[in-house]
């Protein structure tokens, strides 16, 4: 199994923080997002303090990978989490995508090679969220 992150939506942590503040503040979401992008410290602060009950704030993003694996792993992943998308690229090669919530939940629930690779991707695009997931594990 080999997982390669090839693309993701920009500033996933800024969007997580914007989603969180959209639900609990009276400020318009476009203003929140704009202000947050100019204030990385605030993003770090919000995301690293995250106590996620509604995982939906982790869904406003998408990560895209190339997965080299057999069909068994693809089927197994889909059976475990329906929010992953796959497109066959060729023999043993797949385009795979999911949002951070699906990736995080999978990596937390299943300690497999794929779960660990997903966690590495999370660490790349949303390092504070990775800290959060590790805190939840302990």
């Amino acid at each position: 199994m080999r997982l390669t992150l090839i693309a993701h939506t920009p500033s996933p942590e800024a969007m997580i923080a914007a989603a969180m503040l959209t639900t609990t503040s009276g400020v318009k979401p476009s203003t929140i997002y704009e202000r947050l992008q100019a204030n990385p410290e605030k993003i770090n602060d919000i995301v690293s303090r995250l106590e996620v009950q509604h995982g939906s704030i982790l869904e406003h993003n998408r990560l895209v990978w190339i997965l080299e694996a057999d069909e068994h792993l693809v089927l197994d992943t889909l059976l475990k989490n329906k929010f992953f998308s796959f497109t066959r690229l060729g023999s043993g090669m797949w385009l795979m995508s999911a949002n951070l919530r699906a990736a995080l939940e999978y990596s937390k629930e299943y300690g497999s090679d794929l779960g660990d690779s997903l966690l590495d991707s999370i660490g790349t695009v949303a390092p504070n969220l990775r800290c959060f997931s590790e805190r939840k594990r302990t």
Binding site: I6, A7, H8, T9, P10, S11, M15, A18, A19, M20, T22, T23, T24, S25, G26, K28, P29, S30, Y33, S56, I57, E59, H60, N61, R62, V64, I66, S85, T87, L89, G90, L95, S97, N99
Partner: protein
């Protein structure tokens, strides 16, 4: 109403990592997501929006946020303002007073909000993948869709067409996408005119 495409994954970033001619752009739609800030729409409109389940929503909470100056934060349908604005304004005034009185009496906001009307403005973030967006446009850009959600979806379509013209040039109401009207006996009978409007 304000609509803003806040974030999306450019198609070219994905294509650059794929072997040439492996996938069509349409096949990639499900792997690309688009996040919009939707501001100043009515709760009536957001109720229609959240019926599209293959999407993610983060909506301003009426449990956490107290509604202030309701009279200036409502969406009034043009049909109402044209014919009976006084009935509408009177009800909004009563709802506003009742809501404030309940909050002042110490009733939790989550309970006081039960008197708020569907016209109350709301703000939210919505994220859909490209495939879900095309379906959303198919239904909500239709001339038979409710005016507010149609206005919303038309603006969302305009912005994604600007961002990804290749992906969304064929998106629009289902008559435009399919070349036939799927509304059966409810058809507006103006398909030619509608199709022409959405042609790039």
């Amino acid at each position: 109403m304000k609509v803003k495409l806040l974030s999306y994954q450019p198609l070219k970033d994905v294509l650059s990592h794929l072997p040439a001619a492996k996938l069509s752009e349409k096949e990639l739609l499900g792997h690309l997501s688009f996040t919009f800030a939707l501001e100043g729409i009515s709760r009536a409109c957001s109720h229609q929006l959240v019926r599209h389940r293959v999407a993610s929503f983060s909506q301003q909470s009426q449990r956490y946020i107290q509604v202030r100056r309701l009279k200036t934060h409502v969406v009034a349908p043009p049909s109402v303002t044209a014919k009976s604005p006084e009935i509408f304004d009177s009800l909004i005034g009563q709802a506003s007073n009742a809501y404030q009185a309940l909050v002042d009496a110490g009733i939790p906001r989550e309970d006081a909000r039960f008197v708020l009307p569907n016209a109350t403005e709301t703000n939210l973030l919505v994220t859909m993948d490209g495939r879900s967006l095309v379906h959303f446009f198919g239904l909500r850009c239709c001339i038979r869709a409710q005016w507010e959600v149609k206005e919303l979806s038309d603006e969302m379509l305009r912005q994604v067409r600007e961002a990804e013209p290749g992906l969304f040039s064929g998106a629009g109401p289902y008559c435009f996408q399919l070349g036939r009207c799927p509304e059966g006996r409810f058809t507006c009978g103006r398909m030619g005119e509608v199709v022409e409007k959405y042609r790039v």
